[in-house]
Structure formats: C-alpha cells, structure tokens
C-alpha cells in the first residue's frame, strides 16, 4: 500500500512538473532580450536620428513583436516580421530579410513589454545571427513601445 501510494505520488508529481514545464517552456525556453549584448543594443534617440538619413544609409528595421501593435503604431519604414517567439514569426523574418546584404545594419525591435520580459527579441536576434547577418542590433525598449518611443515624440505611422 505504501509503495502504491509512493508510486502514485511520484506519478502525480511528475505530471505536475511536466505540465508546468510545458507551460513554463513558452516563457522560459525563448531567449530573453537580455541575452543581446549591450554592444548590440541601440537606444531610441540614436535610432530616431539614424532614420533621418537618406534611404540607402538607413538601417533596415523590423518589428518582431505583435502585428496588432504594429498596426496601431510602428517606426516609419519598419517592416513587420514576427513574432519572434514563434516559429512562424521567425520564418517570416527569414523570408523578409532574404534579400538584405549580410553586412547591412539591421535593427529589430518589439516593445510588447519590459525588456527583460520580452519573448521576441532574443530569438529574432539569434535567428539573424544564425542566418549570417553580421551587423544586427536590437532597439532597447525599457518598458514598452508606447512609453519609450511614441510618448517620447519619436515618429510613428499606423497600418500595415
């Protein structure tokens, strides 16, 4: 009886841990934005300045977060290529970046949530590096796009 109880307990515990891991995996498996080295981060003020340059000198900018948020407001000229936390989003990013020269400055951004909780930037950054892009930076958004870009007066546009 005691062995049965122990076996049942282990079974229940294993199941609970597995279920938790499966669910926690969506938050804990994706690379955190904090894995992007500081040297590969760019601040909003700097990017806003860069975007004033003539077309060919501007970086290629991809929003790798939420399409619903992209539609509400995004950096002018940026292209939606996400979400980075999902395979389909990484596939879209790979497709969108296919014709970009490997040495071109690419900036990815998200702004869905605080930097250390963003599930999209890390995988997108890793994807681009694995594809051979040598000059990738991530826009550092401390809290969210609304507060750290729009509210600061940097330009945005709506729609697709």
């Amino acid at each position: 009886m005691k062995r049965c109880t122990a076996i049942m307990f282990i079974g229940v515990l294993t199941g609970a841990l597995a279920a938790n891991a499966q669910f926690a995996g969506r938050a804990s498996n994706p690379l955190s934005a904090t894995t992007v080295p500081q040297s590969r981060q760019i601040q909003p003020a700097e990017l806003a300045q860069m975007m004033k340059a003539p077309g060919s000198q501007r970086p290629v900018v991809f929003q790798v977060g939420s399409f619903v948020m992209f539609q509400q407001a995004h950096i002018p000229g940026s292209v939606y290529a996400g979400p980075g936390s999902q395979d389909a989003g990484l596939g879209l990013l790979e497709k969108k970046v296919a014709s970009t020269p490997r040495g071109k400055l690419i900036v990815i951004y998200c702004g869905c949530c605080p930097w250390n909780k963003c599930p999209n930037i890390g995988p997108a950054y890793e994807k681009l590096r694995n594809l051979g892009f040598t000059n990738v930076k991530a826009l550092y958004i401390a809290m969210n796009f609304g507060d750290d870009w729009l509210a600061k007066g940097y330009p945005t546009e709506k729609g697709r």
């Binding site: 539609q71 509400q72 809290m143 609304g146 709506k158």
Partner: protein, 139 residues
C-alpha cells in the same frame, strides 16, 4: 482615459457569446488586455479568475481582450489556465479606442456607471489592484 466613459465595444467571445461592454453597466468591470506570449499577463490571469469567483456575486465582471494575432493559441491558453470569464479577440481598432495598447498587459477598472477609474500599464500590483476593486464594489 481615466475619468472618461469607457469606449464601448461589442465582440463575440471565444465561447460564442456576444459581449457588449454597455451590458455590464451596474457592475464593476476589470478589463484586461493581454496576449499568450506575454509572461506577466499569464501570471495575472489566474488571479483575475480567482477574483471573478470571489467577487462575482458582489458585481465584479472580468473581461479579457487578447491581442494575439490568431485565436488558436488563445484557446489553448484559456483552457490551460481554466479561465471562465469572457475572452474576446482584440485588434488595432479596439486598441486605438483605448488610447493605443502599445505594451502589455493593460488593465482598466470601470465603475458601475461605465467610467474608467484606473488604467494600469504593465504588470499590476495585484494587492493594490484588488483593494481598488473592493473599493469600487463597496460603492
């Protein structure tokens, strides 16, 4: 947004029910914008489910708006978290109606007269939020 009438919306929730915000006049509404990929959101939602059970009889109604791009992951998450309050799919239009939902989570408290009394951007202090809910319910 705070102290203004909450913008009305009518959506069909994941269970196929029509959800019209104005039908909840007389109740205290906790309106939460979230997404399946938002870790802080997933931590809050089970708490809101507990509050719905605890305060529903006193007039609390939790409504959740998913800002995911598709409903399949939302349905899976709702099942996993055992959420029973209405969940509708949001979009850019609804986000814009609420001043632009450009970060998640966003949680609003709407009083019994339909006025927004609080708008919390980001992860909420759940203790403080619950106090605000109880205060509105006591009015």
């Amino acid at each position: 947004m705070v102290h203004r009438d909450a913008p009305n919306f009518a959506r069909t929730d994941l269970a196929g029910q029509e959800i019209n915000l104005k039908h909840y006049r007389g109740k205290v509404v906790l309106l939460n914008f979230w997404a399946t990929w938002c870790a802080p959101c997933r931590l809050e939602l089970p708490e809101f489910e507990q509050w719905q059970k605890k305060y529903g009889a006193d007039g609390l109604q939790v409504l959740a708006v998913s800002m995911d791009d598709g409903d399949a992951p939302v349905r899976r998450t709702v099942r996993r978290l055992h959420l029973e309050f209405p969940v509708v799919m949001g979009d850019a239009r609804l986000g814009e109606a609420y001043g632009g939902v450009l970060g998640l989570p966003v949680t609003l408290l709407i009083d019994r007269d339909g006025k927004v009394t609080a708008m919390i951007k980001g992860e909420a202090d759940l203790g403080a939020l619950e106090s605000q809910v109880k205060h509105l319910l006591d009015r």
